[in-house]
Symmetry: C2
Subunit: 470 residues, 2 copies
């Protein structure tokens, strides 16, 4: 398909007439221009450029979203929906200018329904606020992408994952329904407060993970769970990553599914220990598994941890450490500090390839070999229980450093795909991974996705230039 409009002169600029119309829709205080837009020019992707919006618009409700979209659609102005801007792939960055549609004012928790076990929220609600609200009612939202200041709208847009996917799955598994505004301004409702539905196409799941390229989500119905009783962590160090990974299917075959199984390598542990100023029990070991357990009560937790620990020892673990309560929380907090620790120097980047979990050991070994071949240092860690590997190469301080990084990324994405994996397990494509996605996606599939995109958005105003080019 040919480029629809991003090459047209003037595309992405916002005229005075349009600015006035936008102020008419969302009010004076809902429109930002000039330097106050700086905060909307990037997300948290490392080493990425800033792109200034043409205008930042903050709608207060679905009807305002609808009117902004209708205006943008008529004027062919690109619209970039944005949550908290904590993404890592540039999806919320206005690379073609135009309107940044910041959902920050639509931050109401509309309902926590204790009988249906659902929460209904506006997209600008912060994950931390949702968790507090549902926990105060004795319920539990188990998806934990790790960034508690992200918005639910952002979580839905990227289908955010995280550490608890082994037991609970990812964001899309908890999105039961949506209200969304189409580029035409029409508002649709999809799904609802129920799990079962066999009533025509599942638009809920199609919009979830579409990174704002199809529609603007204006309300989200989330599934909630009964809360867990007790959380424990089993730490199991091994003398090789292969041995550690090979233990994983045996752990998963226990009747009680762990919430998550993380793997760490020595380098990542060391840099994080330095970052937090504290040594861990796995300091000296080549590779370790961190197995997160949820149990109904302390007795059950002890029994499960002991079973898992024994199993690890049978599979070659050098030692086993079990932590409960605060100590368990500390270890989980440590795990979450690994990326900030790696990223602190400002030279780290990240891929989050997912592969079938049985291939993790091989994938990690080959990714490490690729890093040697192209000459970049790399940290590897991730979610051993679900096949999602975080690969953080460090920009080498040499003239062709950037080229080496790009070369490395191409190699690991191709490697992941060749093993039956996908480009991104949880961070999304945005514009930063677009070239990699396009290079590995089959043309028939890519073309089909473009036709679906145009079925929603014939003028390509919704987050153009993201995921793929039209």
């Amino acid at each position: 398909m040919e480029a629809l409009m991003s090459s047209r002169p003037g595309y992405g600029s916002v005229s005075a007439v349009v600015l006035d119309a936008l102020r008419g829709i969302v009010g004076e205080s809902g429109v930002l221009t000039g330097d106050s837009m700086q905060d909307y020019a990037r997300d948290e992707a490392p080493n990425a450029a800033a792109f200034m919006p043409g205008v930042v618009v903050k709608p207060g409700d679905a009807s305002q979203v609808s009117r902004v979209l209708r205006l943008a659609n008529e004027s062919k102005i690109p619209v970039t929906p944005r949550g908290a801007g904590t993404g890592l792939s540039g999806a919320a960055v206005p690379i073609l200018g135009g309107i940044v549609l910041s959902m920050e004012r639509m931050n109401r928790i509309l309902e926590v329904d204790e009988n249906n076990f659902t929460a209904t929220v506006e997209p600008g609600v912060i994950l931390r606020d949702l968790c507090q609200a549902v926990e105060s009612k004795g319920l539990y939202y188990p998806v934990y992408p790790g960034e508690m200041t992200a918005t639910l709208g952002g979580n839905v847009a990227t289908n955010a994952g995280g550490m608890r996917a082994v037991k609970y799955g990812v964001t899309r598994n908890f999105v039961l329904g949506l209200e969304a505004a189409l580029p035409s301004g029409e508002i649709i409702e999809t799904g609802g407060q129920y799990i079962k539905c066999s009533s025509a196409y599942d638009l809920t799941q199609l919009i979830t993970g579409s990174e704002g390229t199809l529609a603007v989500v204006t309300r989200i119905v989330l599934r909630l769970m009964p809360p867990p009783g007790q959380r424990s962590v089993v730490l199991a160090p091994f003398d090789s990553l292969e041995k550690a990974i090979d233990a994983v299917p045996h752990i998963l075959r226990q009747r009680v599914l762990p919430m998550g199984i993380e793997f760490l390598e020595r380098d990542g542990v060391h840099v994080t220990e330095e970052f937090v100023g504290k040594e861990t029990p796995i300091h000296q070991y080549e590779a370790s598994l961190m197995i997160i357990i949820e149990a109904e009560n302390e007795g059950e937790a002890t029994r499960i941890c002991s079973d898992v620990g024994e199993l690890c020892l049978e599979r070659g673990a050098i030692d086993v450490f079990v932590a409960n309560g605060e100590r368990a929380a500390e270890l989980l907090a440590f795990r979450e500090k690994v990326w900030p620790a790696i990223a602190q120097g400002g030279r780290a980047d990240m891929a989050d390839v997912v592969v079938p979990r049985k291939h993790i050991a091989e994938f990690v070994r080959k990714a490490r070999q690729a890093s040697r071949d192209v000459g970049v240092g790399v940290f590897l860690l991730g979610h051993a229980g679900d096949g999602n590997v975080h690969i953080s190469p460090i920009l080498p301080d040499v003239p062709d450093g950037a080229a080496r990084m790009a070369d490395f990324f191409h190699r690991v994405y191709e490697l992941g795909i060749s093993m039956g994996g996908a480009v991104s397990g949880e961070h999304g494509i945005g514009y930063l991974k677009k070239p990699y996605l396009e290079s590995v996606l089959a043309p028939a599939k890519l073309d089909l996705m473009k036709r679906i995109k145009l079925a929603f958005d014939p003028n390509n105003i919704m987050n153009p230039g993201k995921i793929f080019d039209i």
Copy 2:
């Protein structure tokens, strides 16, 4: 949108030239014509008409599917994909003639992967065979739509649900990846052997539940689980359905989610007792809950059942019966016989509306009122834990019986939608529920779905006349 082709003369007929070409693709034995096609003219929907196919084609692999579709697309012949024909809404019935694409020869279990906890199957694999294969490897496929002779392809096409949805969800929650042939003959792969994926649109979930209107599924990657240890059933009779349903959220708020919570009313119990020739402990009670528990071992099962039982008594249950082992299996088998018992007279029909589960009691009461208002008898039962209510009106033996049934169905669908529900929780729309779906779906949403349909299938050859008309 205007009718695309179903009104054209000759549509759905299959010429001798096309028949020859089909024989060339799938072989002589893969093509049925004439009377041998009788078995492909209906599904298990009660009281529905038969529609003879133009031809029945049985492809042996994805490449043959692709070639058949390309031919059908060029010749504009409708294609109705078909599994075992156990559906209840006519989705697999060739209402416009043309090709019935029976997937019965594509019945190989390609892999049960003990390390990834996945099964990869062809669409013609029977659910019972899958369960046996995975159980023999110590794994578990927990989705249980109740009809073990259905194919996995059919389960995927309708997003089949069943009794275990409270704990495990429905078919789509276990579909990790697909291979599918598009009407153009192109073959795409979606998803894979992993749970996490944030790499462009989720075509897996879009195709799942689309009832063969978008593409023909040629391979399915399913997620597997560790097996449960012990299954128990708690039977709790109440003196009103309201009291029974009101107990449900309290049961669900326990830390251990039951696998399912079914509700039964006296009439349905009686007719089933007669059908199976055996009385149950809930014989004399107005309404009962059947709570299905999975536990790691006998001790845990006893404890959970005792907690659930106590809770039911606190919420007004008249008595509580706990069954384990064979006795539990007998009760579950009894539950599965309710529909055959109701249907045996040949005059029963069924709707499977889903509503937010907190509205079940009100929905059931109003549905019963509607049945009185229009003058049809009705059996009500269903999945209290997930809001999916099965409503079985009995065709009254009066001149306007059929009109009364249609009137009743319209009323219950409108009622369900007005309570935030959907037309079908697990059986799909097919052609039999099409008028009801079209009457309750917002035009903006329906139009969007039609554009998505055309993005896959511009000539509308894929199961035309199903779900909605183009």
